[in-house]
């Protein structure tokens, strides 16, 4: 089962700040914890170390980003667990898409290669839901991302891998929300609004075309 899923993308955020000449920080833009407190052993580890406190969460994000971002693209996508993520039974399994890293922390009950496929399914689903997903979608719609994740993974266990089914269920729920007035606008409109809003501010540093993740350019399965 998985302990948490992080989606890390430090570069755009960092670049923005770097331009301002103050500080460049690595920052997880989205951290979803599919947490569990299952086994008695895991309970203690998990409660203290799965990022239950804000500090711990930040520490895990920083540490994970540090570990993952220094790895080349031509090395394997597995990292042996450190003490921070729960010890040797846990592995970090990640995929790198453009400026984003999707990092799963899983225990030995999951197939390593299977999780790589799962990340691919998750990202393709995000892409379908957001029409060419980019980092900003994840930042501005972290609630939506959580909802999508809830249809894929539940309590740290894989729930559904059929992309059409996931998208359909999420969309029905989004429509229900919208019919009630909603929390914010529909994803597509919001994205275009965000993009329009951001472009004049920092025209040179963010090239939206590059950030976008298009499914055809994803690494072949």
């Amino acid at each position: 089962m998985s302990r948490f899923l992080l989606c890390l993308g430090g570069s755009v955020y960092g670049a923005e700040r770097g331009k301002a000449g103050t500080e460049v920080r690595d920052r997880g833009c989205f951290a979803a914890h599919t947490r569990s407190g299952m086994h008695p052993f895991e309970k203690t580890v998990c409660l203290q170390k799965c990022g239950d406190t804000e500090d711990m969460q930040q520490q895990i994000i920083r540490e994970t980003f540090h570990l993952v971002s220094k790895r080349d693209d031509n090395v394997c996508n597995f990292l042996e667990g450190g003490s921070l993520i729960g010890g040797s039974d846990y592995k970090l399994i990640y995929r790198h898409y453009a400026t984003l890293y999707f990092v799963f922390c899983v225990d030995s009950s999951e197939s390593e290669l299977g999780i790589l496929d799962l990340i691919q399914v998750f990202v393709e689903t995000l892409d379908k839901c957001f029409e060419n997903v980019c980092e900003l979608d994840l930042i501005f719609h972290m609630d939506k991302v959580h909802y999508i994740l809830q249809e894929v993974v539940m309590g740290g266990m894989v729930l559904e891998t059929n992309m059409n089914e996931i998208v359909a269920q999420v969309e029905v729920q989004n429509r229900m929300e919208k019919s009630e007035g909603g929390l914010s606008a529909a994803p597509a409109r919001a994205v275009s609004a965000v993009k329009n809003m951001n472009l004049p501010e920092i025209p040179r540093n963010i090239n939206i075309g590059d950030i976008n993740i298009k499914v055809p350019s994803l690494s072949p399965f």
Binding site: R17, K178, F221
Partner: protein, 844 residues
């Protein structure tokens, strides 16, 4: 029409138009989530960001206080964003509960999300949700039910699980696949939290595998796996499902293209992997089930298309299943060969999993894995640390008597070039392998020295004494070794473990170094002064640690009986008598005394170490040191006081010379009739009387070796175990506090002594905050159970009892230090005492 309308109103609301704002009278609408995110992202420093967040948090708090229902969900959403950024958001917990109780789906959705992110079972607040979840599990909308299931499956505590398991079980039986799959995972969570509820789900599992929906099938297999892993009964029960699982798997690989479940040309690889995992558990150790799945496994192994990751994921899982169940031998060979093919794959991920699984199978199919040795060794050169680590572990697992020379060459080369993070593990791996399979002593010594020169600062502490022991025991290699080490010292004095071993050897075998009797190598010509120069160099070098200096000073001291330049040595020793390093100073002062007062004993004391006895483990070897540190040195008062000094000095000496882990030296002493034997033995006897059990570390406590120090030891040894009738003793009696010990032997382990303390108080005031602590030497293990009370009532009106369990593997005499703290008449009392008059039956 309807949607259009709602969308318009939504836009107005969303833009927080002045119109709406004026409707809301005095309170301005809180800014939208998107607005907030945009604002926060404009922050240029962390401080600026923090300030914005604080301002917003204040606004949210006041909005919460006003019980604002309209914007609650927006506020919680903002709070969740801040939580994601790492800011405290716990004050929103109760708001989440309010949202969950709301009728609106939007509210519930955010509320449940917030509950999953902000709440966990540490907070009692989560229990307030139980009723809401219960209602929502019975809601008419499947999505609301889904949210409730998801939340329960994510963060439900055991109380919650107990309360709601019935609802989950009901949903597990519905025909709605969206709910059924979630209910199955929720059931897994419930079982993990409250295993005894497992039985309850058993009836519902009956029809799970006949389900057509793959989501439900997938989660059902997860549920079945969980139940099988938890209970052997369930495992036996579900073995009858093997044919059904095999059929599902067969359909998956045989069915043509189905767009619903296709991932890169393979039909639902996730389900295939899950089924293979369940088959692995069901087939493990069961002939019939294994037999039933042999065919399908062979089919999957040969038919799966492996150009893509998905195919390899399935193949990998198949291999693991084949290796775990009682499969046919042909199938096992096929599996290992698939892994061999994986090793050559270009994809690093595949190589990684191949190494991982070969490591798992190396114990059972050693020869099959051995065939891929060269490929595995090649992986040591991989750039990827994850692969390197796996390859290193596997390489060590593959070392045996036949390939040790070749493998060690590769591994030593790896040790040379690898990242620092690998060095420690690699070095200890080399030590272990060399100890197990060394073809010759010379090779063994060479290998260890090579490790010490290349990765000296990374080796574990015990490698120094181990190497010293190895060298001592290879008598014919002494001259060769000391010469090699001397040369190594000339090259480099920065690797501390190497320098320590070298100093020790030069001290021991300095005479061999000078005589140049080495047959294996070109003898070197050195003079006494050159050797002493090197050792003195170590004493003053900045690179030397205090321990190294100790080794070096002792080596110089030992050379005083092997070299003729005694005066120079005397001088060095006396100089360090005023060293600022206390340890070094003490040694120097003691050595000085040895020169002056006890010169007649010096040759005997500094004599060459006898060959050490090989012990299986490093466990019991701390005795020497323990004796030196904790024993009161005056045991036989009839000795004139000065005699104690050489005694403790000899003691220190042994402790230094022997290092921490070199096994007991005294045992073999009497076999070497030393020139000053009588006195020496006397000294050692003195030592051993201090702790009458310098037990020569018997490998098993039952077989007492010929106890050579018997005559010196004042305590006779009993071998019989007096299980009953151990007399009680008084351990402490002071200031009105009396502590009695009663004994019994724990069954079934006779090595454990169970001691019950009884504390009583004869004064007229209670002793409060009473704490009893005990410590034993390192060779024992002690467990203190909790006391019956922390108040010892006055006037012997009652006792405090506490149970101590002492594990005494070596059957040594029990000694204990106790510490008592209590408050008596308002003042805190603390006292220490040593207990060493335990009745012999309590420890034999």
């Amino acid at each position: 029409m309807m949607t259009n309308l709602s969308r318009t109103s939504f836009t107005i609301l969303d833009d927080s138009s002045p119109f709406l704002a004026s409707l809301r009278l005095n309170m301005p609408a809180p800014i939208r989530l998107r607005e907030l995110i945009r604002t926060i992202r404009t922050a240029r420093t962390q401080a600026e960001e923090r300030e914005m967040i604080q301002k917003e948090c204040a606004a949210i708090r006041s909005s919460f206080r006003e019980e604002d229902n309209t914007y609650r969900c927006r506020n919680v959403a903002k709070l969740l964003y801040m939580h994601m950024l790492g800011y405290p958001a716990h004050f929103g917990q109760l708001e989440c509960l309010k949202l969950i109780a709301s009728q609106k789906f939007t509210d519930k959705r955010i509320g449940y999300l917030g509950a999953m992110l902000l709440l966990d079972e540490r907070q009692d607040v989560h229990l307030l949700m139980t009723n809401c979840i219960k209602n929502d599990l019975n809601h008419s909308t499947q999505y609301v039910q889904g949210l409730a299931l998801c939340t329960l499956g994510c963060m439900g505590s055991s109380e919650m699980c107990r309360d709601l398991a019935g609802e989950v079980e009901k949903l597990l039986k519905t025909s709605n696949s969206y709910l059924r799959k979630k209910a199955a995972l929720c059931a897994v969570h419930v079982i993990r939290k409250v295993p005894e509820l497992m039985e309850m789900f058993l009836p519902a599992t009956k029809n799970l595998l006949s389900e057509k929906n793959h989501g439900v099938l997938h989660t059902s297999v997860v549920l079945l796996t969980e139940m099988c892993e938890r209970s052997p009964d369930m495992l036996a029960h579900f073995r009858k499902l093997v044919p059904q699982l095999v059929r599902i798997l067969k359909n998956l690989i045989m069915s043509g293209y189905s767009p619903e479940h296709d991932v890169s040309g393979i039909s639902d690889p996730f389900l295939q992997v899950r089924i293979l995992r369940l088959l692995r558990i069901l087939g493990k150790g069961d002939d019939d089930s294994s037999e039933a799945m042999n065919d399908i496994l062979a089919q999957v192994a040969t038919n799966t298309e492996t150009s893509k990751n998905v195919g390899n994921a399935i193949l990998y899982e198949t291999v693991l299943t084949i290796m775990d169940i009682k499969s046919e031998s042909g199938l096992r060979v096929l599996a290992i060969n698939i892994l061999g093919r994986f090793l050559l794959n270009n994809d690093k991920n595949i190589r990684y999993v191949a190494l991982t699984s070969l490591l798992k199978t190396v114990q059972t199919d050693h020869n099959a894995v051995q065939r891929h040795r060269s490929t595995i060794v090649d992986c040591l050169k991989d750039l990827d640390v994850s692969i390197k680590r796996r390859a290193m572990e596997l390489s060590f697992a593959l070392v045996n008597g036949n390939n040790i020379r070749g493998m060690m060459k590769e591994l030593l080369y790896f040790l040379d070039s690898c990242d620092p993070e690998f060095k420690a593990d690699c070095a200890s791996g080399v030590f272990l392998a060399a100890e197990k399979y060394a073809p010759s002593k010379r090779w063994h010594i060479d290998t260890i020295m090579r490790v010490l020169t290349t990765a000296g600062s990374y080796v574990r502490d015990d490698s120094v004494p181990n190497l010293i022991q190895l060298i001592t025991n290879s008598v014919e290699m002494h001259a060769y070794t000391v010469q090699r080490l001397y040369k190594a010292l000339l090259d480099d004095i920065s690797q501390q473990p190497l320098v320590q071993v070298a100093s020790w050897c030069i001290g021991e075998y300095g005479d061999l170094l000078l005589s140049g009797q080495c047959e294996e190598e070109e003898p070197i010509q050195v003079t006494e002064d050159e050797v002493l120069d090197v050792l003195e160099g170590l004493l003053v070098s900045n690179l030397s640690t205090p321990v190294t200096r100790g080794y070096s000073l002792t080596a110089i001291m030992k050379l005083s009986t092997r070299f003729s330049s005694v005066n120079r040595i005397k001088k060095v020793v006396s100089i360090y008598g005023s060293s600022i390093d206390v340890e070094l100073q003490q040694r120097a002062v003691e050595y000085n005394a040895l020169f002056k007062k006890y010169d007649h004993m010096r040759p005997a004391l500094l004599e060459r170490m006898p060959i050490m006895e090989k012990t299986a483990s490093n466990g019991p070897t701390e005795i020497v040191q323990t004796n030196g540190e904790t024993e009161p040195s005056v045991v036989e008062p009839k000795h004139p006081p000065p005699i104690n000094q050489p005694a403790s000095q000899g003691n220190d000496l042994l402790d230094l010379l022997g290092g921490n882990d070199v096994p007991v030296i005294q045992t073999t002493m009497p076999t070497k009739p030393a020139s000053a034997g009588g006195e020496l033995l006397d000294l050692l006897g003195d030592l051993s009387l201090g702790g009458p059990a310098p037990a020569p570390a018997p490998p098993a406590p039952t077989s007492q070796p010929p106890f050579l120090l018997d005559g010196l030891s004042s305590q006779p040894l009993f071998n019989d175990i007096a299980a009953a009738g151990i007399p009680p003793m008084t351990a402490y009696n002071k200031n009105g506090l009396k502590i009695d010990f009663t004994f019994e032997r724990a069954n079934p382990n006779p090595n454990v002594a169970v001691i019950t303390i009884h504390a009583s108080n004869s004064t007229e005031a209670d002793m409060t905050d009473f704490v009893f602590q005990a410590a034993v030497p390192k060779t024992f293990q002690l467990q203190l159970l909790s006391p019956s009370s922390n108040v010892v009532p006055a006037l012997n009106q009652g006792t405090v009892t506490q149970v101590i369990r002492v594990l005494n593997q070596q059957k040594q005499q029990l000694r204990m230090r106790i510490k008592l703290t209590y408050t008596h008449k308002g003042s805190a009392v603390q006292d220490l005492a040593e207990v060493n008059n335990f009745p012999p039956q309590s420890w034999q």
